[in-house]
Symmetry: C2
Subunit: 292 residues, 2 copies
């Protein structure tokens, strides 16, 4: 098996090639004068191929590159193209919230399959059942909560792990297991007099304790900023935030630190200044299973 | 049938809706803070739908929007989504010129089909057999050479229509029929002494005559600039250029005028300052056939 890297995930692909003891091959990339992308795999391929390509910004350009890379790998002789998309963009538009909307993640997943992918592994996709719903090829969702929580082992005093909403509670539960901590989720409530919307932990008391927020994505960080302020007002000692995919748009990191967050930690699915935890090992595990 | 327009081809879609006497529906579009595109069809659909969406710059963003639009139209109740892509990007990468390259146009065509398109009509795609090769759904290639040549009817004196290479000769032949003109193609030759590459008409004499160049795409205009200079040096009276898709990157239009070209004319597949000829009527013809 050969590991193929694009500029999207070069570091992560290199780690994977070392963990799996397989050759790393870097795709040639260029852009034509009219803006069309070009990509070439500079070697004849044999056997299985692991193509690693994440879909962070500019996500549409990277998505087209992904289709080209899958097609190129098939054309270069790969018997199976196992596609690893550490961050799969458009995953939050996973249903028609309003009539007339697309299921964006479905359209993109189907395109990757149509391009010739033989298996797809993603990391912490917003709704894992999207994979079952839209793919016929084998697929895997890697949940790196153990790795993220591990980063905080021994660092927190009397910790509480908080999920931003009930739907994300499983992440908080997993992280709490690793840390031997309590866990809870944030609940929104409206003040009957002022009409103000408040977010606060559902039932756990954070007074005098360290709080670790955990979520799949930090984008603008808006919810997290409000939540950090709230738990600090409720007496929390120190506030930390962990996420899988650090999109960090519109100065999110500055806003989080300004709101009193001690440290923000993310994985390397999206390269960022806070990508201190690698998903290489859990992805390698999935690949080893797949090759067995 | 409803005609659905996106911001990519609003003018052309409006013309089509008038020619076909069908309702025009404009998709809602927005961009999320992290750069992901959103699109919504603001009405429940019934029966067949004609979705018009071109793939000019930024082509990758427009390509993702196309997949979302097809999915949204299907989800909104369309019984058949007939997709019109006036300019289909990535069509020149239509084979593996070098080992390890993708067939980019194939990867993109397959994605459009996988998104749920029931038929695809394109205008003057670089190699029409790409459609047969990569699509299973019904497909149509509209060749607007008659419309482009028609623009020049009565304007040229003793005209010669020239294709930039032998592969594009059919376009010159069609335009020459419309104009009652001679036609030929350009041939490259290398001076045996100086090594200089020259381009000149294969056999026709341009001295004292008007020359009309015709091609599918003008991108940087490099070949055309050299060709215009050459035929002017050979005594051509006036030089005109016509193309289907005016990409016009890197100041192509300025360079063409500076090289002595009198006028550049293109269709409205790609909105441009020289899009003086509409492909609405030939597309409408194809759609009428399809609905019959």
């Amino acid at each position: 098996m050969t590991v193929i890297a694009t500029s999207s995930s070069l570091g992560l692909a290199a780690k994977l090639s070392r963990l799996l003891s397989r050759e790393l091959l870097v795709a040639e990339e260029k852009v034509f004068p009219d803006g069309e992308k070009y990509l070439r795999i500079p070697k004849r391929l044999e056997g299985d191929v692991l193509l690693v390509h994440s879909l962070h910004q500019p996500q549409d350009e990277r998505f087209v590159q992904l289709l080209l890379a899958v097609d190129a790998a098939k054309g270069a002789g790969a018997s199976r193209v196992i596609v690893v998309v550490p961050y799969f963009a458009y995953a939050r538009q996973d249903k028609r919230f309003l009539e007339g909307e697309p299921v964006s993640v479905g359209a993109l997943l189907k395109a990757v399959e149509a391009a010739g992918a033989d298996a797809l592994a993603v990391v912490d996709i917003h709704k894992p059942s999207s994979l079952d719903e839209w793919l016929r090829i084998p697929h895997f969702n890697v949940l790196p909560v153990g790795e993220l929580a591990g980063y905080f082992r021994g660092k927190l005093r009397d910790p509480v792990v908080l999920a931003p909403d009930k739907g994300a509670l499983h992440r908080a539960q997993l992280a709490a297991q690793v840390l031997g901590a309590e866990y809870d989720y944030l609940e929104k409530s409206r003040d009957r007099v002022t009409g103000e919307v408040k977010i606060a932990p559902k039932s756990v008391d954070v007074d005098g304790r360290d709080v670790l927020f955990i979520d799949d994505i930090i984008s603008t960080g808006g919810t997290l900023v409000a939540a950090a302020k709230e738990v600090l007002a409720l007496g929390a000692k120190r506030v930390y935030a962990a996420c899988t995919h650090a999109l960090l748009v519109s100065g999110a990191l500055d806003k989080l630190y300004a709101a009193g967050v001690e440290e923000v930690v993310a994985t390397d699915t999206v390269p960022s200044p806070v990508s201190r935890v690698s998903v290489a090992e859990p992805i390698a595990e999935v690949v080893r299973k797949l090759l067995r």
